[in-house]
Amino acid sequence: MQDSYSPLPPTPMSRQEVYAWSSTLSSIVFALVYLLFVFGIPSLFEPIRENFIQAVVILVIVDVVFQTIISIQSSQGGRVDRDERDVRIAAIGFKIGYYVFMVAVLILIGHLFVYGFINSLADPVYVGRMDAMIVHYLVAVFFVGTTAKSVAQVVLYRKDA
C-alpha cells in the first residue's frame, strides 16, 4: 500500500538532538578558548586577558546549568526521550569521532617523531621542552575527536528531520 497523504510536517528537535547541538557548541567553544589560552591571545582579545579564567569558569557553569535543565525537563515529561534510533546515532557519532581521533593521534605521533628527532639532533635541549607541547597537542586532539563525534550526530539528526 502506497502512502498518498500530504508531505509529513517537520518535527521539532528531540532532547537527544538538543544534547548533540549543545555538545557541539560547547566542544567548539572550549576548543577555541583552550587554543587561545595555549597558543596566545591575539591583540584583539588583549583587553579581556585579565578576565580570561573567569570567562572560562562562567562558560563551564553555563554549560552545566544548561545540560541540567534539559535533563530535569526530560525526566518530568514522563515520555521516552531516548530510544533505539538515538542509540544508533550516538554509536555512529562515536565511531566517526573515534576514526577522527585515531587519524589525529597518528598525525601527532608522526609529527612528534619526525620533528622531535630532527630537532634533537640540532638542539638537545629541545627534547626537554617537548613535554608541555605534547600535553597541549593531546588536548587539541581530544577536542577534535569530541567535536567530530557531536558534529556527526547533529548531521545524522538533521538528515532525518
Binding site: Y5, L8, S14, R79, V80, D81, E84, R85, D160
Partner: protein
C-alpha cells in the same frame, strides 16, 4: 540517515485508527515522535522488536505494516 529499502504503511494505519497522532503511537511503543517520523519517511529502519511493537498496536502482522523493497541481486 539514508533512505532505507523498508517501506511501511504506518501513516495509513494511523489515519484509520482514529487518526492516531505520531506522539500517541510513540508513547504506546516506547519511542520518540522523531523516530516515528523517521520510520514513516523511510529514513530509518526500525529494529525487529520495534517493528513488532508497531504492528501489535494496529493489530496487524509485521509484513502487513512493513514491506521490503527487494532489488534483484546482480
Amino acid at each position: 540517515m539514508e533512505k532505507t529499502a523498508i517501506r511501511n504503511t504506518i501513516r495509513h494505519l494511523r489515519f484509520h485508527h482514529d487518526e492516531m497522532t505520531q506522539q500517541e503511537l510513540a508513547d504506546r511503543i516506547g519511542a520518540t515522535r522523531q523516530t516515528i517520523y523517521a520510520i514513516e519517511a523511510a529514513k530509518y529502519a526500525p529494529s525487529l522488536e520495534l517493528a513488532f511493537r508497531i504492528a501489535r498496536v494496529f493489530g496487524k502482522k509485521v509484513e502487513d505494516v512493513f514491506q521490503y523493497d527487494e532489488k534483484p541481486i546482480a
